[in-house]
Amino acid sequence: MRISAAAILRGSTLAVLVAFLVAPHGFEPVFRPLVQDNAPAIYSQGDLLMLTLLHLRTVALATAGATVVAMAMAILATRPAGAEFLPLSRSLANIGQTFPPVAVLALAVPVLGFGEKPTLIALFLYGLLPIFENTLTGLTTLPPAVIEAARGAGMTGRQRLWRVELPLALPLILAGIRLSVVISLATATIGSTVAAKTLGEIIIAGLQSNNMAFVLQGGLIVGMLAILIYDGLSAIERQVARRAGLPTRA
């Protein structure tokens, strides 16, 4: 009973979000009380749907890059050949988290110029850490008996990695990706301070013209996207974990 209630909530969140993105002016009465007399209540300097898609594209690109690099690093660090890099990569992942996103963005501007690129770099760096950490945990906490069995069955190192270790670590890796996506969705809005086309543009326009309706719109769209994507990825994780015959991990 509870599951269906959650499903209804999720479905209606999605419906409201899509309706708002496709026909924002239908929601004007909702935002009207937040603005002064003649100010527009709905963001008008750009297409909301387009900005949302660009926002999602930026997050997707950065997360895809982060996933590939972080997994490669974690796999390398857990192989015998890369064992030397393990302590360093752990402390690097830790240090990386102390760099504030605004600082990363601002420092990337002189090298990459204004626009989407510094945002991509900042999101990529931020996305690396959760995925790397979770992949590392997933690969280093496998039951030794399973690895021994795989070795006993005559599997080579590569076969063990692809057929045993990665499938077993997959739910944890996915959890890392989910965390990374949710952080990126919110952080991408800061990219608009360096002229990236993201939903942050709406919020910043609102801050500059003292238009609370804009700020709320931008914030709500990003928040709803984050909730829906978080839910969707959690569902995929449960599916994968069930298929792998593992107890579901949060």
Binding site: P87, T98, A103, A106, A186, I190, T193, I204, L216
Partner: protein, 388 residues
């Protein structure tokens, strides 16, 4: 005898070769806004200093390649970092024409690459040595003291970032104070509110899911939106609640930034308090009950001390995150180092951006090191209690 090459050392040697030979060592500008001209290591330093630095760089790169004792590698990395710090100051002095107050000299990408290479070497050595927490604190203090000493000595005074600082020294320390107050104050408020809330959620199971879900929802609101959304309600409070204005509550400025940081901090503190209390072994609680402890006594003497490492982990997350997020306060007039970052972006003056960004990174990094050490120092107590 075969010489075994260190794999990380190979990466570092490559970085040193590229940073030292290919990438520009310094960037010279005739004034603050014209495009810079690159200067290689040889052009950027007096001949003797250039030769000296080149020898140090080459020697340390070779030491990184060989499998030497780890403490020796750490010392080598330290030596190279010191040599670089001195050289970049010398280079700024050397490149600035006498009496020219418009010329700007900034470290080039080569310096940043060299610094990262040796920082990597040092980080690797420290990670392999695995020093106890108090040694790490001592190392941090030594590094900060060294940087402070160089700053005070005036060696770096000709660098463009310090010229930006010289023009606004008063404002810098004002904003620094605001930044730290925002980050620490909101953390303190979050602990004062989140700890009891976590305890309540632990005791009253029905509340738990609801409270944590609400706090989770807040996390999904992007920071700039949350900062902005608080302007209206706080502005209303400032006008309509007697005494609020006198307390410094305004629609724009530090108040909405403080509240936003507080709201973001609540989830980690509350959730980790719940997790920490839930992690206390049932046998321990039973034993405490058996010796006749009341609920409050158990909470204060058994449960909270055992949950401390988990709660401290939350405080680490929150503090590092708040130091970073406080930069965004500048967008709504809340002050902090973000003021320089956004001014710099607006004026395309990257030295000004650095003046805001570097102290933020240093603060966040120092906070992380200090709290990591604190968590580790607390952990043995945790284990002792667990055994007892």
């Amino acid at each position: 005898m075969t010489i075994r090459i260190d794999k990380l050392g190979a990466v570092i040697a490559l970085m040193v070769a590229y940073g030292g030979l290919v990438a520009p060592f310094a960037i010279f500008r005739a004034n603050r806004i014209v495009p810079g001209e690159a200067r290689s290591l040889i052009e950027a330093l007096p001949p003797a200093a250039a030769a000296g630095l080149a020898i140090v760089l080459a020697a340390v790169a070779c030491m990184a390649l060989l499998r030497l004792p780890v403490s020796l590698r750490l010392a080598a990395a330290g030596l190279a970092l010191c040599a670089l710090a001195v050289s970049i100051g010398l280079s700024a002095r050397f490149l600035t024409p006498d009496g020219d107050s418009y010329a700007r000299v900034a470290p080039g990408s080569g310096v940043w690459i060299l610094l990262s290479a040796f920082a990597l070497l040092a980080a690797d050595a420290i990670a392999r040595l695995g020093p106890p927490p108090w040694i790490r604190l001592l190392l941090l203090a030594a590094v900060l003291a060294a940087v402070g000493a160089v700053l005070l000595s005036g060696l770096w005074d000709n660098l463009s970032i310090l010229k930006e600082y010289a023009g606004r020294a008063d404002v810098f320390w004002q904003e620094a104070g605001k930044h730290v107050t925002l980050a620490l104050g909101s953390l303190l408020a979050a602990v004062v509110a989140g700890l009891p809330l976590g305890i309540l959620c632990h005791r009253v199971k029905r509340l738990r899911a609801g409270v944590l879900n609400v706090l989770n929802l807040i996390q999904t609101i992007p920071s700039i939106a949350l900062f902005g959304l608080l302007i209206a309600p706080l502005g209303w409070i400032a006008v309509h609640v007697p005494g609020a204005y006198a307390l410094g509550i305004r629609g724009i400025g530090a108040a909405p930034a403080f509240v936003a940081l507080f709201l973001y901090s609540l989830l980690p503190v509350t959730a980790n308090t719940v997790a920490g209390l839930a992690g206390v072994a049932r046998e321990v609680n039973e034993a405490a009950r058996g010796v006749g402890m009341t609920g409050t006594q158990r909470l204060l003497r058994i449960e909270l001390p055992l949950a401390t490492p988990v709660i401290l982990t939350a405080i680490r997350i929150v503090l590092v995150q708040n130091i970073g997020l406080a930069t965004i306060a500048a967008l709504i007039g809340g002050g902090g180092f973000g003021v320089f970052v956004f001014q710099g972006i607006g004026q395309m003056a990257m030295d000004l951006v650095l003046l805001g960004a570097l102290p933020t990174v240093v603060l966040a990094f120092a906070a992380a090191v200090i709290l990591d050490a604190a968590i580790e120092m607390k952990a043995p107590v945790f284990n002792r209690n667990k055994i007892a």
